[in-house]
């Protein structure tokens, strides 16, 4: 597939005519912006990008990106993206969604997608709340936080997506903050470039239903891993950094492994260079005769 040269592609080329329906200053604008920038930086062709989501405010993102989109059902962005990527590995498949979508209802798929290490990029817009359903506790809601569904404060421990991803074998694990779009765009670019599963947990404030984890709240707590001497090839160092939240939120690349082979390099069909989407459908006479003979 021929791609235009990076210099020729601008971020605006990935902006759809459909205007986002998010609340003004919702963190998700930043993520959309970063995705447009990353696709442009990589010189991708719009037609070769497929953006897949689940359901939630954040999951509406594919509708605002000028690329093929699949707006799926709640929690199923990753299996949908997996199927598309396996059928046509030439596509750049970016799965997006919320913390409820990915770390709640879709948690099973999340873990398995990471251990599978298919070449997918997964961006989770983590606002520590269920936005679309107007403010219930999410799996990343901090203990003690009062929400519509936790009127006396959340009594469960939050999920630590970074630590979980590391434990599940994700080969690229990063966190970004919507308050720094250039940094986020660079992380999304690296994530897309990484051959294997890549997670970017995007701290993306919900300005309407989360009055605790606000832009200023995050800004006081984030710091950049690359400025603090972190070695992203060191798994235990990554785990140590991952355990700092919720007090501090390191942003940047926690871990990047080049040693784990991507699923498509191991799958018996794809490793032969087969693209199912381009394969001939009907069986040759010889092949069907061989199958029939095996039944005789």
């Amino acid at each position: 597939m021929t791609s235009p040269s990076p210099a020729a592609v601008k971020a605006e080329d990935f902006r759809s005519e459909t205007k986002p329906d998010w609340c003004p200053s919702c963190g998700n604008f930043g993520v959309l912006n970063a995705v447009e920038k990353a696709c442009a930086a990589l010189g991708l062709a719009n037609k070769d990008v497929l953006c897949v989501s689940g359901i939630g405010c954040s999951s509406n993102l594919p509708g605002f990106l000028k690329a093929y989109g699949l707006h799926g059902i709640h929690g199923r962005a990753l299996p949908l993206a997996t199927g598309a990527k396996l059928a046509n590995p030439a596509l750049t498949v970016i799965a997006v969604g919320g913390d409820g979508d990915g770390y709640g209802i879709g948690m099973g798929h999340f873990i398995h997608a990471m251990r599978r290490n298919l070449n997918l990029t997964y961006l989770v817009m983590n606002n520590e709340i269920y936005g679309l359903t107007t403010g219930q506790a999410s799996p990343t809601t901090m203990k003690g936080t009062m929400t519509k569904s936790t009127p006396e404060g959340c009594i469960e421990n939050p999920i630590n997506p970074i630590a979980l991803a590391l434990a599940a074998g994700a080969s690229f694990v990063a966190r970004a903050f919507c308050g720094d779009i250039a940094h986020m765009a660079s992380l999304v670019t690296q994530a897309i470039e990484h051959k294997g599963f890549s997670l970017v947990d995007c701290l993306s404030p919900c300005v309407t239903f989360n009055k605790v984890n606000t832009y200023p709240w995050f800004r006081q707590r984030v710091y950049k891993l690359e400025d603090s001497g972190h070695d992203a090839s060191n798994f235990s160092a990554a785990m140590t950094r991952a355990m700092e939240s919720p007090g501090r939120f390191p942003i940047g690349v926690f871990y990047r492994s080049s040693g784990i082979r991507a699923y498509e390099d191991l799958d018996s069909t794809l490793s032969r260079g087969t693209t199912p989407a381009a394969a001939k459908l009907s069986l040759s006479g010889k092949a069907s005769e061989a199958i029939k003979e095996s039944f005789r």
Binding site: L70, H71, P79, A84, N88, A279
Partner: protein, 583 residues
Amino acid sequence: MSGIAEAGTKAASFRLWIGGAAGDGIAAAGQSYIKACARSGLQVYAYNSYESVIRGGHVLFMAEAGTQKPCLQSSSCDILIALNQETIDREGPRAGKGVLFNSDRLRVDSSRLQSGARALGLPCGQLAQNPLMQNSAALGAAAFLAGLDMDVLAELLRETFKKKTTAVIEGNILAARAGHGYAVAHFGDSAVPVSGDGKRRMVLSGNEAMAFGAVAAGCKFFSAYPMTPASSIMHWLAPRAAAYSMVFKQTEDEIAAINMAIGASVAGVRAMTATSGGGFALMTEGLGLSGMIEAPLVVVEVQRGGPSTGLPTRSEQGDLFQILGASQGDYPKIILAPTGVEDAFYTMGEAFNLAERFQLPVVVLSDLILAEHRETVDDLNAALPIDRGVWAQNSGSGQDGFKRYAVTSNGVSPRAAPGQAGFIHVAASDEHDEEGRLISDVHPDPAMRKAMMDKRMRKLDSAAEALRPEVLEGPADADLTLVSWGSSCGAARHVMRCLNEGRKTRVNFLPIRNLHPFRSEEVLAILKRAKRVMAIEENYTAQLCRLIRMETGFDIVRRWLKYDGDPFDPEASVRRAEEALHD
């Protein structure tokens, strides 16, 4: 009928049962035996009744081979090969000619056998070098009793054990020849020789036919989570997928299975998943997604006994209403239920074409007996017609503005897949406009919503016409019309065959292959002409009868229902039909 052969004459059929514990190698022995029959020009129907344990449960392999294809498993046998004492005690009295057993280890009390049946002891220690080869010795003896050519069996044993050492292969063949020789010398009176027509046939199960059908239909993506009795589709496809440019993915659950298949479909390939009732329950939300975003999809549902975990290794047809009602809202879907093994193959070809022509989910509804029993098939035409439906052609001008969900007269809109230039769009599960933009919350548009519903649902009108017509089998006029679906069609065909013997026209049969959309006028016309109607199905609430009443207003009051987990008994089914003829 079968098994009654005058000395020197040929019988119409030979019924062999092999019983023992799970893990005794019965499936492999049975497979070699039926293949030998199929290669010898006989028609075969075989059913392996097993329990869901790897070792220890009782297994009974029931095969009937003859000049005419049997429609279902027999309720008794000519010869029983008993591999353990329990089989002798449980099944021995149902053998008409004799019980073959290892006389070194087991005992048969002749007084407990039918008159005319013999205890056919094989001194396996003498015949086989190794106790593991006793099945082959017994098979050799059975081959003689059925009148099969020992060389055909030897060839099959060579194939069955091809991955083993030469010593194992030759040992098994020697054991089979020794068993054969021993039978020639000692069991001549018990032989029930049948002779075939010389045609070398295929023998395959419903699941194998479906898996082969999917490959022949150009399915390039198969995702599934293991669940009996659907798993053998996976077992057949997994090692072969790469050779047919298909990706097979075992998933973390059935929700992932259906969603991966939908993702693959959106990327432009023919995609399928397969499961049983419990797994299908988890897939329901995905089925609706396929309907909403108009992503073609084939879902195979192989029913087993329910509810809940139910009867994992027993058959039932209790999921029809689950499929009919699956997923929220009104959306178009097609449900097809193949009526036999050969039909299962061709139905898969049809399912993929319908899915793509009408851009909707097609559920192919099977059941454990259809899936697992094996029967001979003369031939299959694997050059299946492939119709991929309408696709957006030529590069569109801009990047936006492609009407993926264009309102058309038949409701089908040209589709496009990622990678195609000029047709960028979002396939959205929220209600959307022609371009795929959401009209759900922020920009409600009741007129467009209605247009989209109408367009999607309209596809069913053309789909109903595109379905294969339902056809009455047997005489046009009969005293009793049977109605059935899925594997229960076997019982109906058996009843029709028995009651019409001697060119009588007492019974005809309407198999219902298309469950949704329902070809109501066609079915009603047939039912109205019928003198008496009786339905045969394997469930408690007569689900097909309920569907027929819902779709046509016709109430089938005579019902032969079964839900105890066992297949229909041939004789009891005939008796029930006799009653219906006289009620």
